[in-house]
């Protein structure tokens, strides 16, 4: 089997119809077909170019330059008509104004407006301030806006300042001896201060005049050995009062001291006589 047979077999498997076609050239043209084909192709190409060049969706030159304005004009015209209709229904007066600018000022208005506003503010404030100042101090109010701090012409030209350079303090080198001396002086000063404070706080009291007189009298008593003699000059009332003033319950103290010296009544005595205690106190003169 040769190669041709293989191809035929395969073609049959693929398409029996095609395989059954006879070996005839079906693509045939006239003999003179290719004589005029070149000119015909060129003519057709030219015709295609002409067709492509002539675009049916073309606009005039400058069409898009005025397009937006024309669109807006159309919109405005539509809206204006609607707005005007609505405005006419609401207020014929306002509708009659139309698009005319009613807020107009003179051309030089804004050139002078700042000065005009400031002057009106100054005028109102100045009056209030001046009135208050006049009440507080007419002298100060009389000064007004005058500059009272003036210097003669050329004053600062002549004025000479002293040498204002900051003095340089040289730190002296610390030596061991110098440091010791410094601390020693500080210690001495602190010690003196401490001693002074201690002496001041613990300053011994001096006897006042009354105490000094009593001490002198006491010295005389000791010197003359006159304690008992002087004690005898003091009445029992004064002794009692002195003891009472010094917190002694004299009666209780006398009963206690007497009880040390004398024998108290027996317990039975209180049963026989209910005045036993009174008798005992009277016996020892301890009752007031």
């Amino acid at each position: 089997m040769n190669e041709r047979d293989y191809i035929l077999t395969e073609l049959k498997e693929i398409s029996a119809t095609v395989a059954a076609l006879p070996r005839v050239n079906v693509y045939t043209v006239d003999a003179a077909y290719f004589n005029g084909v070149e000119a015909e192709l060129i003519a057709r190409i030219a015709a295609d170019n002409l067709y492509n060049t002539q675009n049916s969706f073309s606009v005039p030159d400058g069409y898009f330059e005025g397009l937006n304005n024309s669109i807006f004009d159309k919109i405005r015209a539509t809206e204006n008509n609607e707005l005007l209709d609505e405005m006419s229904q609401l207020s014929t007066t306002i509708a009659g104004i139309g698009n005319a600018n009613v807020y107009s000022v003179s051309p030089t208005y804004f050139l002078a407006v700042s000065n005009t506003i400031l002057q009106s503010i100054y005028a109102s404030e100045s009056n209030e301030v001046l009135d208050e100042m006049n009440k507080l101090s007419p002298t100060v109010a009389g000064i007004g806006n005058k500059n009272v701090y003036t210097a003669p012409q050329g004053y600062f030209d002549v004025l000479r300042f002293a040498n204002t350079e900051a003095p340089v303090v040289r730190m002296q080198k610390q030596t061991a001896v110098r440091s010791f001396f410094k601390y020693a002086v500080a210690a001495v000063v602190t010690g003196l201060l401490g001693i002074s404070v201690y002496t001041f706080v613990n300053k011994p009291l001096k006897p006042d005049v009354q105490t000094a007189a009593l001490m002198k009298q006491a010295d005389e008593i000791i010197k003359n050995n006159s304690f008992d003699a002087m004690l005898e000059t003091i009445s029992d009332k004064d002794l009692e009062k002195y003891l009472t003033n010094n917190g002694e319950d004299v009666n209780a103290a006398l009963v206690a001291s007497t009880a040390e010296d004398v024998q108290l009544p027996n317990a039975d005595d209180y049963l026989f006589d209910d005045k036993t205690l009174d008798n005992f106190l009277n016996e020892n003169n301890l009752k007031n």
Binding site: S235, G247, S257
Partner: protein, 152 residues
Amino acid sequence: MKKCILYLSFVLAAFTATAQVSEMDDQEQLNPKKEKDIEALYIAYVSKQLNLTPEEAQKFWPIHAQYNEELKTINKSNLNEIDREQAVLNIKKKYVGNFNRVLGNERCNNFYRQDAAFRERLRNRLKEMRQKRRMNNMPQQGPTRRRNIPQR
């Protein structure tokens, strides 16, 4: 005559009333001179018992004057007895340091003992005086009491 008797009665009543007021004053007020005498006796007694030198006395008695003033203030107050004794004890404790600096610890303790001893001495003197007065006022006849109480 009746008017004269009435007049004399008024005069007698006024005199009696004046005398009673004077006696009450005597009872309430301690004679200032006698008070000074007793204080001088106190200083003499304590100085002698503590053997105070003049230098010590110069330091001690001014401190004692302050101490005494504080005690007097407490004794004049209306504290009840327990509170008064507590306040007195507090003052005594407060001054221990001051007295110690002058007297030393031992003599400081001795000072408080002698302070009490001086008052004891005054009480004994008061007791003696009252007993003496009682003996003087006793009637000359023998004792009428049911029992005799031993004397000192």
